[in-house]
Symmetry: C2
Subunit: 418 residues, 2 copies
């Protein structure tokens, strides 16, 4: 920690890390930046660093919680299947023409709680369809992209309900700066070291080529088959054109594609899940041949059931990720109610869409071919924390188990220079 840094200095560092480490922005690239209105100060820091790095043009697409909510408060019944397909296609074209994508997260997580769930689900489905061309390019790393976080009073109030607003906002910023590794003496160096650690973990798992992972612990006895030719990723990624970017700031996970038809057993959630403003907690689920056949949540069960009924693929998983219980975000003890942070506090699985990036030689294969290899397909991708201090993880290969994690921690250290 460098106590001498002011908020403005830390914010500037976050902007610089987003541009240089997150995007690794190249001269001449355009940037498509999406941000909540409350992130204007961070947008301005990012924009300045992007132009200094040679950006051709930075275009910011702001969202506003107030007008997002107004739609559900005042919109007419026929309007909720509408989406901005023209914008989705425009952004996809930007990516195809080489623009980088930077997304700032941090809206009010409970904004839409209390709105008509059927309207929310129709609007969300329409938006997913409209954004699909752009999202596919993102998930294929057709261009360099990155997500960073921005604290807002509404989000801070959710994370620190017992603090006065000013202190809550400050505490959330502190958490973001710390988890994003910009509060130390040399953020660029810190990211280099961190990427090396995650890369070493992913390499070890890629070399082991496990057939399945076995999760065991309180309430959990789950075998997750891995997709044929699965690939473990973590930290920095390489785009199709060979650029190295860091898509998530922060990140602590190594993750891969499970086999959508080879998951069996039972698992319970280790942290609450926030979906469209609703809290889902105390989830218990049974898998048979990859499909969730029984599911129940102590809180938000109706939201969970609706989520599972989204489409064919929403009852199967598209990601499994390993995060040690001692990860900095986990140790902070903060429940951020934001996936970018909470998924990096615990090992997790994700309902829904798989990442093509987490399969070797996926380029050029059809959706049917990827599905045949075990990659799940869905409009949703919802991460769901299952790791905690009691969980053991073993790798299964040719019937033999190799201990990977015990009591939530890696058995062997990563081989890095860090």
């Amino acid at each position: 920690m460098t106590d001498a840094l002011s908020h403005d200095q830390l914010l500037d560092r976050l902007g610089e890390i987003a541009v240089r480490v997150g995007l690794n922005l190249q001269p001449g690239q355009q940037v498509v930046l999406s941000a909540p209105l409350g992130a204007v100060a961070l947008v301005r820091r990012i924009t300045e660093h992007a132009y200094k790095a040679g950006a051709g043009l930075v275009t910011t697409l702001y969202s506003d919680d107030v007008t997002t909510l107004a739609r559900f408060q005042y919109g007419t019944e026929g309007s909720f299947d509408t989406a901005a397909a023209w914008m989705g296609e425009g952004v996809a074209r930007a990516f195809r023409e080489g623009a980088a994508r930077l997304a700032i997260t941090g809206g009010d997580p409970t904004l839409l709680a209390g709105q008509n769930p059927e309207h929310l689900s129709r609007a969300s489905r329409a938006a997913s369809r409209a954004n699909r061309p752009a999202m596919e390019l993102i998930s294929q790393f057709a261009t360099n992209w990155c997500i960073v976080a921005n604290a807002t009073p509404a989000w801070a109030a959710q994370v620190f309900p017992d603090l006065p607003p000013d202190q809550a906002l400050q505490a959330l910023w502190q958490g973001i700066f710390s988890a994003s590794r910009v509060d130390g003496p040399d953020p660029l160096r810190a990211w280099k070291d961190h990427d090396a650690t995650l890369l070493a973990r992913a390499r070890m798992l890629n070399e082991a080529r496990f057939d399945a992972l076995q999760f065991s612990g309180e309430g959990t006895d789950l075998r997750i088959g891995l997709a044929d030719g699965h690939h473990w990723a973590g930290g920095a990624e390489t785009t199709r054109s060979g650029l190295v970017c860091n898509p998530n700031i922060p990140t602590e996970e190594v993750f891969t594609t499970p086999h959508a038809r080879r998951v069996s057993g039972r698992v319970s959630s280790s942290k609450p899940l926030f979906h469209q403003g609703a809290l889902i907690d105390g989830i218990e689920v049974r898998f048979e041949e990859g499909r969730i056949t029984e599911a129940h949540a102590n809180t938000g069960n109706d939201v969970l059931q609706r989520l599972l009924d989204t489409d064919e693929g929403s009852r199967r998983i598209g990601e499994v990720a390993l995060v040690p219980h001692s990860s900095p975000i986990s140790r902070s003890g903060i429940l951020y109610r934001n996936t970018l942070f909470d998924e990096n506090a615990a090992s997790h699985i994700a309902l829904g869409q798989a990442y093509a990036k987490c399969l070797v030689n996926a380029e050029g294969q059809t959706e049917a071919e990827l599905a045949e290899r075990g990659a799940n397909q869905s409009l949703i991708h919802v991460d769901w924390m299952i790791g905690n201090a009691t969980i053991d993880v073993d790798g299964l290969k040719d019937g033999r188990l190799t201990p990977l994690m015990r009591n939530g921690e890696w058995v062997s250290p990563a081989h890095t220079n860090a």
Copy 2:
């Protein structure tokens, strides 16, 4: 005036008039709303009224003076020819698919003063090209559209430099509310009456079918030939699909397409012109066969010369508009430094692009055919005030002059029910 109305009530009325009178928004239409960041409050009022009117989706594209400026402060030499063609095409697609377009004006008029003029002009040209598909649809009234204004501290400081910031902002809002006719007892009725007055003027001029207009007065002796099959417009417009919208709030002008090769004589500006943050004042110009052959400005002459050298069409005019010297905006005595207001304070001509809408039977004609009829083509359209209390205007037909304006006022009253 209704003194009892609060600022918030007037702002809400402006939002309602923009949606109901400006756009005449239809149920199911999307809205593409562009706005400076300082207009968030007005954007929220507009969005609420749009959803209440049945909007499918309202998408706001915010611009930020700080990041606009950052581009010219920190951008690298190679970057200034870049534009967001992906966004221009996306917005054009939105319009083709039926979205309405609402633009909020009101950024800092001097924002870019002092930046490298060559960078500004390259960036502006690139942006014009990228936005051309969308702008063509707008000028053809392929969809319903409207521009309204929002006061910001930076703009207010320019308009009222002698007032303290709070009072300047309040005075600018008062000017906007008043010119936009939302401060009376019944704004919807006021707009209906006003549209009827402008329509009556335009109808009179369309029936007269003048060959040319003769402007005479201090420093001005100018004959402006009108395009073959020119059409006078003013106030409400009708889109291709038959929707009646009010593209400019406020508006006081009736205007048509001059013949790009039939303008001759000399003319001097009656009000300063603001272009890309620069002030151009004391302009004197000579036309021969439609082309500006001599031009000089007492202030900003270099900016004027660069403007005239933009392209082939920037030395010819694409619009002539009649506004009485007694128009409310003129009487307010406020120089807004914003075209939407200042062009409605005086008769004016515009350097550059003509409106296809101001030609009868223009639909389906090629650019060459329109040019043959006298319609000018250019990347620019810059309005330039030439009317004042000394100006007389006559209509010329078959060699005979008909008095239209004397000392800046209409000779005959408009025939309306107002």
